[in-house]
């Protein structure tokens, strides 16, 4: 199975959350990033994500390919949502499927750290007092 990656407008729904199921791969480890209603001790009412889209598409696909270092037969799904989202909505979906649980867990954790380090996506958070700010680094 091929990796599936992309950036799409809006929060991620059931379609993007569905994991890659393959009879050869017995373990699927996953991560969902959910918009949180608090940050730095303050209430958050919404987030807005923007990206450098052509570069982000390439970087996300490359990170997914690189995760094969954990298992050559690894299959990755990686979706990032863009635009405005409210707490409880899903901004990131990662799945890594492997024949064994060890590489699946290691890969999904690595994918998340790489995405947080390399994917050209930025979020602006709006606090419950109406103020907002760009988050740089995470």
């Amino acid at each position: 199975m091929a990796n599936v990656t992309g950036l799409v407008d809006g929060p991620l729904g059931v379609a993007q959350r569905s994991p890659p199921l393959s009879p050869g791969n017995g373990a699927v480890a996953s991560f969902l990033g959910v918009v949180r209603d608090h940050a730095k001790g303050r209430g958050v009412t919404r987030l807005h994500y923007e990206c450098y889209r052509p570069m982000a598409e390439k970087v996300l696909a490359r990170i997914a390919d690189d995760a094969r270092r954990f298992d050559p037969a690894l299959v990755v799904t990686a979706w990032h949502g863009l635009g405005t989202m409210v707490p409880g909505e899903v901004s990131l979906v990662l799945h890594a499927s492997s024949a064994h649980r060890g590489p699946a867990f290691d890969a999904v954790r690595w994918l998340l750290e790489e995405i947080k380090r390399e994917l050209p996506v930025w979020k602006r958070q709006t606090f419950d007092d109406g103020s907002d700010e760009w988050v740089h680094g995470s």
Binding site: G33, Y52, M55, L112, P120, W122, H136, G137
Partner: protein, 83 residues
């Protein structure tokens, strides 16, 4: 000098006041000189520039000298916050 498209994102776009513009830049320059030229064009950007990486034609350029061509696309990449 070559004519380059420069892209600004997130806080760098807010501070530059523009998302994309055309700038004339040397065909070969290092990060120090690039930051100086961008700060001259947009003084409010100065404080953020040391935290930014740069991408040329959608690839991050490593520290040191970089080469630009006419029509190259140079993007400022402030620290990312996806996830």
């Amino acid at each position: 000098m070559v004519g380059v498209s420069v892209l600004y994102f997130a806080a760098t776009r807010d501070l530059a006041g523009v998302a994309e513009e055309r700038l004339d830049l040397p065909a070969e320059l290092d990060h120090v000189e690039l930051r100086a030229r961008l700060a001259a064009a947009h003084p409010r950007l100065a404080a953020l520039l040391p935290t930014c990486r740069f991408a040329v034609d959608e690839e991050i350029v490593p520290p040191g000298a970089m080469r630009l061509r006419d029509g190259s696309c140079l993007a400022l990449i402030p620290p990312v916050s996806g996830g």
